[in-house]
């Protein structure tokens, strides 16, 4: 079998790519996609830890189910916000939504 470290390293790469996307990209929808990458990285970690280290092996999978559920809810809401933003300001560029300051 593939060792646990491999899964963890894969998850780390996936997560860091997601971080880069969130921080660097300007498009709101793309930021959301990057967040999905990060969430998937976390799910891989959960399942891998459960399968390798937990005798019951199930809890990680349950967690992943919840992560997927919450991610679905989050995507729904966030996209609603993006659409709202686009309708009000005719852009989906987060750099231009900068009135939250002094």
């Amino acid at each position: 079998m593939v060792p646990l470290e491999n899964y963890l390293a894969l998850s780390a790469i996936l997560f860091s790519l997601g971080v880069y996307g969130v921080l660097a990209r300007r498009n709101a929808v793309l930021i959301l996609m990057s967040v999905e990458l990060m969430l998937n990285a976390v799910s891989i970690n959960f399942v891998a830890f459960a399968v390798y280290l937990d005798p019951g092996k199930i809890t990680g999978a349950i967690f992943a189910v919840f992560v997927i559920t919450v991610a679905a809810a989050e995507v729904g809401l966030a996209l609603a916000i993006v659409i709202r933003l686009f309708r009000n300001r005719a852009t989906s560029n987060v750099d231009e939504a900068a009135i939250m300051k002094w």
Partner: protein
């Protein structure tokens, strides 16, 4: 009803204080009859206590009853009453004088604003003083002590619409407070050394030598500071003459029964401690002598009849302290008793003069009132003679006892100074009477409208006059026996050294000569209402006269100290507050916050990616920090 229930004496007026202060203004006659009733009840109860006390027998004295008050850690605090001979004497004095003052006030305070409040505070005043004299522990004593102070503050400042009255009330309160702090320190020091507040317990431990010598000396000096403040001894005497701003019955109460004698009582109660602490008695004696002498001189130049009486009280308290300093509490308590009667009489008579002449109390406006005020005049004469120490009035016997006691100091210096003070006393009391009641009226208008006062006022005068005449006689063994005491008052108060009173003819004769000299000299100077002789005396030594008029510059000295010292210090403090605390501390920190906020607000770009970057950076830095510290 026995002596163990003596607390009722204080409880009844205290309860009436609550009733009167809440409902007094709605009651018919504003509740004055309730006040008289309450203090009258205490007066009657006193006789029950006295009867029970005398019948319990000497072997069971003192009568003690206490209850558990509270536990603080391992410390058990018990509160209770302690009734011995001194307490009984004080009970008699306080209830009698308070009753007379209450009855007198019905006439004197008629129609005044806050009539009910006056009577309410009178009840609290009497109650706290009664509590003070029966407290068996220093804590309860201190509470009552402060209550007495508060009551005097309220009553001296009774006419608070008058600025001078509020000033006098503040002066009385603050001056006595300086002493009270000393007393509090003393009590704390005694508790620290003995672990108890119980007076008798402390005395036992001190007599067993369990308290260090220097420690006890310092402690007792602090305690005596409290007594000095309360009893208006030099240099704390300044508040008492100003206290004349209060209504005259209050002056009578303060001077005779409640406020000022508390100091004498305190020293008498703790006298065993003073005796153990070598050297404190000398201080007590010297303070008493200085006070007796200085106050006599200060009384000489006063023209307000109440102020003359005020200084005479200061002086007589000095006499009492000399007796205490000589280790003779029975003489002090005896003088306290007789003084209470004739000084209450003098003040009430002065109050009667004030009411009779429609609020005139300056000698320059009075004079020749004898015909207009026969009862007041007669009783005033009795009081003055008792004050001067004329045989066989009360003042003679007690003053004689004090003089006798003062002989215990080697060399007779105390006796000589006291004798001289007694001459001055006789002189100014003669001056007071002659200038008020004899000679030609100084102000015809005042003279014309003068009327004798009503029954509510003259009755207490007559009663007190009788007491002033006869109360001195209880010194004789036979008289004491006849009214149920085990002996004369001096034997009663200190039974452990029964010493039957013998008339010391030499001293009595000397005392008589002193009184006569003082009276005749006073009469010679002031007879007939002419001020020619006194003016010549004043001009003979104008410097001395001015000094006396300014009462030895005590007030000026204190004012100067307050102005220079306190105000100077206040100026520094205010500068510190304004520039350091306010400008630098308060405003400075606000400005600093504002300025940093002004700078840091540019960090808020409003762009979400920047904030996300901050979060990510924080996570990375935390992870690095965690790895570094884990090693």
């Amino acid at each position: 009803m026995g002596a163990e229930q003596a607390w009722l004496l204080a409880a009844v007026p205290a309860g009436m204080f609550v009733v009167l202060s809440f409902f007094g203004r709605y009651l018919p006659r504003k509740g004055d009859f309730l006040g008289v009733l309450a203090i009258g009840t205490s007066f009657v109860l006193f006789f029950f206590v006295l009867y029970d006390f005398l019948h319990t027998g000497e072997t069971h004295w003192p009568i003690v009853k206490d209850i558990k008050w509270s536990n603080i850690g391992d410390f058990r605090l018990r509160m209770g009453i302690f009734v011995d001979q001194i307490t009984i004497v004080m009970f008699g004095v306080v209830t009698t004088v308070s009753l007379m003052v209450n009855i007198f006030s019905v006439g004197y305070m008629k129609g005044e604003a806050r009539y009910w409040w006056f009577f309410a505070v009178l009840q609290l005043f009497a109650a706290s003083m009664l509590m003070l004299v029966m407290a068996d522990n220093l804590l309860l004593l201190y509470i009552s002590w402060e209550l007495v102070g508060v009551c005097s503050f309220l009553l001296i400042g009774f006419y608070w619409e008058k600025r001078s009255a509020t000033e006098a009330a503040k002066k009385a309160f603050i001056t006595t407070r300086i002493g009270d702090v000393g007393l509090l320190i003393g009590i704390i020091l005694l508790w620290k050394a003995t672990g108890t507040f119980n007076i008798q317990g402390i005395i036992h431990q001190a007599q067993a030598g369990e308290i260090g010598h220097t420690y006890l000396f310092v402690t007792m000096c602090f305690v005596f500071l409290g007594a000095m403040g309360k009893s208006a001894q030099v240099p704390f005497h300044v508040w008492l003459p100003d206290a004349m701003e209060g209504p005259t019955p209050v002056s009578a109460l303060i001077h005779a029964a409640t406020m000022v004698v508390a100091g004498v009582y305190l020293v008498a109660r703790l006298l065993p401690l003073f005796e153990v602490a070598d050297g404190t008695l000398v201080i007590v004696t010297i303070v008493g002598l200085v006070t007796a002498l200085l106050s006599g001189f200060m009384a000489l130049t006063q023209t307000d009849i109440k102020k003359v009486l005020a200084y005479s009280t200061v002086g007589q308290l000095g006499f009492m302290f000399v007796a205490l300093g000589s280790g003779n509490p029975s003489a002090a308590m005896f003088h306290l008793t007789t003084h209470a009667f004739f000084k209450a009489l003098l003040f009430l008579a002065a109050g009667s003069v004030i009411i009779g002449t429609h609020h005139n109390q300056e000698m320059d406006k009075l004079g020749g009132l004898w015909k207009k005020l026969p009862i007041t005049g007669t009783t005033f004469l009795v009081g003055s003679l008792a004050l001067a120490g004329v045989v066989p009035l009360a003042g003679f016997w007690s003053k004689d006892e004090v003089l006798h006691a003062s002989r215990s100091w080697d060399g007779g210096w105390a006796l000589i100074i006291l004798g001289f003070a007694a001459i001055v006393t006789a002189f100014y009391s003669t001056r007071l009477f002659v200038r008020t009641f004899l000679g030609k009226p100084n102000d015809e208008h005042v003279y014309e409208q003068t009327r004798e006062t009503g029954l509510a006022m003259t009755l207490p005068l007559v009663f007190l006059a009788i007491l002033s005449v006869v109360s001195g006689l209880v010194i004789f063994h036979g008289v004491g026996r006849a009214i149920g005491f085990p002996g004369g008052i001096t034997e009663f108060v200190f039974l452990d050294q029964p010493e039957r009173y013998h008339v010391d003819w030499g001293l009595a004769g000397g005392s008589f000569v002193i009184a006569t000299v003082g009276i005749f000299f006073g009469a010679w100077v002031y007879w007939g209402g002419s001020l020619a002789r006194s003016t010549r005396m004043a001009e003979f030594q104008p410097g001395v006269y001015t000094m006396l008029q300014h009462k030895f510059y005590f007030d000026e000295l204190y004012q100067g100290v307050v102005d220079r010292g306190v105000l100077g210090f206040s100026y520094i403090v205010s500068w510190f507050d304004r520039y350091v605390v306010n400008d630098t501390g308060v405003d400075g920190s606000a400005q600093m916050t504002g300025y940093t906020g002004f700078l840091l607000k540019y960090l808020q770009t409003g762009k979400v990616p920047n904030y996300a970057m901050a979060i990510a950076l924080g996570v990375v830095l935390l992870a690095v920090a965690g790895l570094v510290t884990r090693g």
